[in-house]
Amino acid sequence: MSFPWAKEYKPSHPLMQWLDEKLPLPRFVYNAVGAGYPVPRNLNYFWNFGILAGVCLMLQIVTGVVLAMHYAANSGVAFDSVEHIMRDVNWGWMLRYAHANGASAFFVVVYIHIFRGFFFSSYKAPREMIWLLGVTIFLLMMATAFMGYVLPWGQMSFWGAKVITGLFSAIPVVGEPLQQWLLGGFAPDNAALNRFFSLHFLLPFVILGVVILHIWALHIPGSSNPTGVEVKTESDTVPFHPYYTAKDGFGLGVFAILYCTMLFFLPNALGHPDNYIQANPLSTPAHIVPEWYFWPFYAILRAFTADFLFIPAKLMGVLAMFSAILVWFFLPWLDTSPVRSGHYRPLFRKFFYLLVIDVLVLGYCGGSPAETKYVLISQIAATYYFLHFLVILPIVASIEKPAPLPFSITEAVLGKDDQTAPAA
């Protein structure tokens, strides 16, 4: 679907006309990211992050496929093969640093993309399906990133794999056999490394498939916008090309500068030094911490330190950690306010900023050693996290008095809209 005023693809060259009859691929591109896709004219730079996430995915696939040509998924030689890439493969060091920092960049971009969705309530009707697919992509990304981190077979790879697969052992009755089945053994070893490699290669293409659905679903209602007011007339929109291709091009440049600064000057700043020590099942690191993008969820996992209503603390932690993401699936039905944009929701906005701080605090605690003070702080922060989504959002939606909305996007941008009734 598109708006009635969307431009139609009219190929002038006979070759393109012929192609349009046989396989209308150029028409498809034209309607997806070309002049045939009308987009609200008021999108701010937070709307760049969807494209940036797509760029990160492609970057990870390209660097990953080449790395896989040189990597050996065998617990005996995996660590050495990574060093072989770093030392002997032409530009191998750049590929590996691009891939490792690319994962971090991907998560930075996706977190901003998700929090943009929180602030502007991008999950609300008619865009629920886009949101559901997005949360699915995020879950797949977490699985992919976790398995990718195991592949270098360093100390954190091994012990991270042990801790995370150990979560499954918290499930009553079937937990232990399930964990052994997942690992193909009693501890992470060659069987686990091989299947993680296989899945780490597969999942990005599954992500790509879901991304295509995500964009398809986006093109049905069209993009949301910072006012949250739906598009009414042609003056509310501009064609995607050249307006947003130009804007995304600039955003991409800024992103690439920041990313390349990390890649070339601080390539190990986000990694853990212990992963430059080969995996050793007989030597446990002093602090086992996952990569930074898992820290908030790791803090929630560790926040449950006491059994509750006969439920073991470990099981509570695992349930809470998964629920912390699963709760996002229900957002379209938890937040019932008819107003989308946080700009027009004074009370919601305060809680939104509190959530941002809360997640940063959780992240800080999750990356710190499991000392009492960090655990106590993360318990309070995790409490707020769950209350925010499951209790506060529904209440705010029913008691809040939103600020008046502009009549249209055009009015919001230009201060007036010819379509407005004369009395207004």
Partner: protein, 272 residues
């Protein structure tokens, strides 16, 4: 349904968390976690004077220093520590000629082991430039780590290596008074830069332990800084190329982004 069960689930987790918080807080007040000798006496690594040449975005290795560091590794460290990921041929990056690299490999104390495919007998031969540094077998106290990656396998690695090598000292009387149980066991040595304060390696460096060919005075600090620089090179031999490439890439990106900005402004000037 969601609005009915959602808040219930939220309250369930909230109450469970506050319960954990309460139990933990009471525990923390009743029996505060005792401080440990490590918390109080462990020191963060410090830089040598006047700092490492390779730090910072423009940092470069100092070849003379790398050669000195290699000499310290060869004469001191290599008695116990392997250098698994480095090949003799890599030493060309330190400024050695092909003939010198060949000579270093040939004269290396530990020989390369080869197995006769017909008899299974193991024999030894001289190392060649294509060989990696041979593994060092060690049977004493402790577990000397391979040093190829050590500066990347520790926080602030180069500073850590320097501080550790120069940080040996008597155990402070203050520590023994406060934590009598933390007395350094026999056979270990006190070093405040080591993770648990007690290290199995005896102080390896003493003034004038090696004689530098370039006339540099071989103080303990000088040798420690030199070998830390050498081990930074073994861990990240492509560092200079990486930074060099980085500047070229950033130069291009800055120009491209400036153009992209102008293009964006131009395109949007019609609708603003």
């Amino acid at each position: 349904m969601v609005r009915l069960f959602g808040p219930l689930v939220g309250l369930f987790f909230a109450v469970a968390l506050l319960w954990s918080f309460g139990v933990g807080a009471i525990q923390a007040i009743r029996e505060p976690e005792p401080t440990t000798a490590v918390q109080e006496f462990h020191l963060a690594p410090k830089e040598p004077e006047p700092g490492f040449s390779f730090n910072g975005p423009f940092g470069k290795f100092n070849q003379a220093q790398l050669q000195r560091g290699f000499q310290v590794y060869k004469e001191v460290c290599s008695n116990c520590h392997s250098l698994h990921f480095v090949a003799f041929r890599d030493l060309a990056a330190l400024g050695y000629t092909e003939a010198e690299v060949k000579a270093i490999a040939k004269e290396w104390g530990t020989k390369a082991k080869v197995q006769d495919p017909k008899t299974g007998d193991e024999t030894e031969r001289d190392n060649v430039p294509a060989d990696h540094f041979p593994k060092v077998y060690y049977a004493g106290t402790g577990n000397p780590p391979d040093l190829s990656l050590v500066t990347k396998a520790r926080h602030e690695g180069p500073e850590y290596v320097y501080s550790l090598l120069t940080g040996y000292q008597e155990q402070p009387a203050e520590l023994l008074k406060k934590y009598p149980d933390a007395k350094t066991p026999d056979g270990l040595y006190y070093n405040p830069y080591f993770a648990n304060l007690n290290i199995a390696m005896p102080a390896p460096l003493a003034d004038d332990q090696v004689t530098y060919g370039d006339g540099t005075k071989a103080t303990k600090e000088q040798m420690a800084a030199d070998v830390a620089a050498f081990l930074t090179w073994t861990a990240e031999p492509k560092m200079e190329k990486r930074k060099q490439t980085g500047w070229a890439v950033l130069g291009f990106l800055l120009a491209a982004t400036a153009l992209a900005y102008l293009a964006k402004r131009n395109v949007w000037s019609k609708v603003h």
